[in-house]
């Protein structure tokens, strides 16, 4: 077991991807930033100085405290507090957890849906392929945020009011997921078309391997690279979409605020001088999305066989 683990590490060290990674400062910096953000978000109970959702710890007297370096700032609230006296830093960390959960789940949903449809469309071809691809074409003409709004609106109509806050996060994941899948379908179809004409697929067909097995055992592992790349960039898009929807008030409810919700809440106070309530969540969102995008760009360049 031990030697196998060692050889895996050695194999990673030996690989060109690792080599290109340690040669790219942007990739390293963005990975470090993302690791910190992921760590802080998922162990937020341990990291955050306060629990903003524990009403007993809130003190309305401390509301609207500016960041600690300002004159009226308090040292215990590094980034100040919001209108209910919640510590901004803790609220952001809790919010980013919601944003990341929604982003990851949504992208996983659209990835599974898009790859399954794109792979089968590319592999089987014919009328089935035409139908799937025309659906993606139609959906791509609708901006994805409108699509998500539409889904969200329909869901609101269908789900009763009491359940709505509980279900909001699932609705959001579904709405964002359904609006992003055509990207994955297109890319995986194109990659499948290339792979299925290669001889190793013919060899498996001649042996008698079933279509399902050929698709998932042979083609899928070979088309994962481009899917991984657009998946990464898609993750940034999904997080931004979540924030946009929450900003518009159709996302997660204010009781469990995400980054977008925080920006919306803070937006109301922007003109009364409490800039930090909206500024810090916004800058956090920018750093998060930007790091993911930089990492995605690096992956695209490294994993693209044409550039090697």
């Amino acid at each position: 077991m031990d030697s196998q683990n060692l050889s895996l590490i050695d194999r990673i060290r030996d690989s060109d991807v690792y080599f290109s990674f340690i040669k790219s400062p942007t990739a390293i910096i963005s990975t470090v930033i993302l690791m910190i953000i992921f760590f802080c978000s998922f162990f937020v109970e341990l990291v955050a100085p306060f629990n903003p959702f524990d009403p007993s710890s809130l003190d309305l007297m401390e509301a609207f405290t500016p960041p600690s370096w300002e004159e009226e700032g308090m040292s215990k609230f590094l980034l100040g507090t919001d209108g209910q006296g919640r510590d901004m830093l803790s609220t952001i960390l809790y919010g980013s957890r919601i944003s990341l959960i929604v982003g990851f789940s949504a992208i996983l949903f659209s990835l599974i849906l898009g790859v399954a449809l794109g792979l089968t469309a590319g592999y089987f071809g014919g009328k089935y392929e035409m139908i799937i691809m025309r659906i993606t074409d139609v959906q791509l003409t609708v901006p994805s945020i409108l699509m998500a709004l539409l889904v969200d609106g329909i869901a609101r109509g269908l789900i009763s009011r009491e359940l709505h806050d509980e279900m909001a996060i699932y609705v959001l994941i579904f709405a964002i997921g359904i609006s992003e899948w055509p990207q994955f379908a297109r890319v995986s179809r194109a990659a499948t078309l290339v792979e299925k004409n290669k001889d190793y697929i013919s060899a498996s067909t001649i042996i008698g391997v079933s279509n399902i097995k050929i698709m998932f055992k042979h083609i899928l592992p070979n088309i994962l690279r481009p899917i991984l790349v657009i998946g990464t960039i898609g993750l940034a898009l999904a997080i931004i979409a979540e924030s946009t929807l929450s900003f518009l008030g159709v996302g997660v409810p204010p009781t469990t605020p995400s980054l977008g919700t925080l920006i919306r809440i803070g937006n109301d106070f922007l003109f009364s001088g409490e800039w930090w309530i909206t500024f810090f969540p916004a800058i956090f969102l920018v750093i998060l999305a930007f790091s993911i995008n930089l990492l995605g760009d690096w992956m695209r360049d490294t994993l693209n066989p044409k550039l090697n």
Binding site: K198, Y200, S202, A203, S204, I206, G208, P221, N222
Partner: protein, 560 residues
């Protein structure tokens, strides 16, 4: 006094882990009016050497030392001087005529552009000159075709245009890098003839880079043999081909399939000891060997295949008849060859026999059962097991994400799902040893193997289901000649010991002669002639067969 002198030239590539010498301390000279053949297998540095002469080495490679002296001047002394020489004093012909012309410009524009870059001529004069050149390289109606785009020419015609481009500024040195490798044999001989005449008429110095010994023997005056960046041997063509001194040259020449006789096995110099008795076919004990009978194992009757494209176009339009009424049969234990140029439909027939394509009409009988009419998958599996295929491109025929063990295990477990792990491992090891690979290969990935080794893995996979018919679609045309000899030996041994029936598809006549008992000649989807191998080579019946045989480059032609 020689015209071109290469003096101690070296090219190295600085890679991540080490510095690789692609060309090491090469010295040779070329005279005017002489064709120097530069031969070697892939990775020998022959193309790099050609590029180094004109200082066209891409990063991270660089010329580390040595000089190139052209007409008494060191052309590498000043980097900017070489720009004036390229295209003017030195002409270049590349391998692929599809990509060496700009598809968006007419050939006339491309010729005039090159002429005006180097010579002080006005548009009219350059145009006249261009048309004269096109006539010289054998393009009919040159003044009309002047305004055509590259896609309006065939492959051979396009290569003529490339040659006219190379010649348009009266170069004195011509470097041709595999100028005929992408072309069919009939066009190849025309292009080589053209290069030969131009060399004589214009008193050119020519460096002809190629891997094909047949091409060398028919065109070159002198030959330089390269291996791993070193110059192994240089001498007149006759000397090198008939009496090679270096061991490497000897083994290279003994690997070339002779065109004038059938030999039992190729001599492999590196592994002289186990050469005589052949491989130890470990799977023999497991093999359910079929006795050789006179029965037909496979018979193809009136096979037709049409391809049509476009969902929205009418069915009658855009029809391509790839295979047109082909009938033949193969006896159990026989090896049957199908030869033809590109587009003759030979691969399409192979794909119909292994049931990758359905024929448009006609029938294929395997062991007296019509396999083209089987609908049920279960029924088909019985035949899938018995017909296996080996592909041309060893790089795309193995799934790079699976270990060799899993690649070979797939057919075994599929047709015998109850096999236990130990038996499976034993079987895989036996298969690997039968194709002369070590047992350790099983835990490695395909990218760790060379082209020849990958082809062996492919063969092991094909043998795993114990097929009776092995369809080999150009199994060696992507391989170097010494590797080709090994693979062909292996296939011969396997066939002999396992009583396999082989359908061998190739464009390479000498290879087919070595491998097959009977041969079918295909042209444009039609079967011209089916004859016994010796009869076809000695007394071809069909006009097209005669032509093909006449045009194929013969390494033996040097003896005459």
């Amino acid at each position: 006094m020689s015209f071109l002198k290469i003096d101690n030239l070296s090219v190295n590539y600085r890679m991540r882990r080490e510095t690789v010498y692609a060309v090491k301390n090469i010295n040779f000279e070329v005279k005017k009016g002489e064709i120097l053949g530069l031969v070697g297998e892939s990775g020998s540095g022959k193309s790099t050497l050609g590029n180094a002469i004109i200082n066209l080495i891409d990063e991270p490679g660089k010329i580390s030392n040595g000089s190139v002296i052209l007409d008494g001047i060191n052309i590498h002394a000043k980097p900017e001087d070489i720009l004036k020489l390229r295209g003017k004093k030195i002409g270049l012909i590349f391998q692929d005529p599809q990509t060496s012309l700009n598809p968006l410009l007419t050939i006339g524009e491309q010729l005039v552009e090159t002429i005006q870059t180097h010579l002080d001529l006005n548009l009219e004069e350059s145009k006249t000159r261009a048309i004269d050149l096109l006539k010289e390289v054998g393009i009919k109606d040159a003044d009309k075709r002047f305004d055509n785009y590259p896609h309006q020419f065939s492959g051979g015609m396009r290569q003529r245009v490339v040659i006219s481009l190379a010649l348009c500024c009266e170069p004195e040195l011509l470097i041709a890098d595999e100028p005929t490798t992408a072309l069919d044999v009939s066009i190849q001989s025309q292009i080589l003839e053209l290069i030969k005449t131009l060399t004589k008429e214009r008193n050119l110095a020519v460096i002809l880079i190629t891997h094909d010994m047949g091409v060398i023997s028919e065109t070159a005056d002198r030959v330089a043999v390269m291996k791993n960046g070193n110059l192994v041997e240089i001498g007149t063509t006759k000397e090198i081909l008939t009496n090679p001194k270096a061991t490497y040259t000897k083994s290279l020449i003994s690997s070339v399939p002779p065109t004038n006789k059938k030999i039992l096995r190729f001599k492999i110099m590196e592994k002289e000891k186990n050469n005589t008795e052949g491989v130890n076919i470990k799977i023999l004990g497991r093999w359910n060997k079929k006795e050789i009978t006179t029965q037909d194992l496979i018979s193809v009757k009136n096979l037709k295949k049409t391809f049509q494209d476009g969902v929205f176009t009418e069915a009658s339009k855009n029809k391509v008849l790839a295979v047109d009424d082909v009938s033949f049969n193969i006896k159990e234990g026989e090896s049957f060859g199908l030869v033809g140029e590109s587009g003759s439909g030979k691969s399409t027939i192979a794909k119909m026999i292994v049931n990758l394509f359905k024929p448009s009409s006609g029938e294929i009988f395997f062991d007296n059962t019509c396999i083209t009419k089987i609908k049920k998958n279960k029924e088909m599996m019985k035949f899938r097991k018995q017909i296996q295929m080996i592909f041309q491109d060893p790089y795309s025929s193995l799934n790079g994400r699976l270990k060799v063990r899993d690649i070979i295990a797939e057919p075994i477990t599929l047709h015998n799902p109850l096999i236990n792990n130990k038996d499976l491992d034993d079987y895989i090891n036996d298969l690997l040893e039968s194709v002369e690979l070590s047992q350790k290969s099983a835990i490695r990935y395909p990218h760790e193997f060379s082209g020849g080794q990958r082809q062996r893995i492919s063969i092991a996979r094909a043998l795993a289901t114990q097929p009776r018919l092995l369809v080999c679609d150009e199994p060696t045309s992507a391989l170097d000649v010494s590797i080709q000899a090994q693979i062909l030996n292996l296939l011969k041994d396997l066939q002999e010991q396992l009583n396999l029936t082989i359908l061998f598809i190739s464009h390479d006549l000498p290879v087919v002669r070595q491998m097959c008992d009977r041969i079918g000649v295909l042209r444009n989807g039609k079967l011209c002639e089916v004859s016994d191998t010796e009869e076809l080579f000695l007394k071809p019946k069909h006009e097209y067969s005669k032509e093909l045989l006449h045009l194929m480059p013969k390494i033996e032609s040097i003896y005459n």
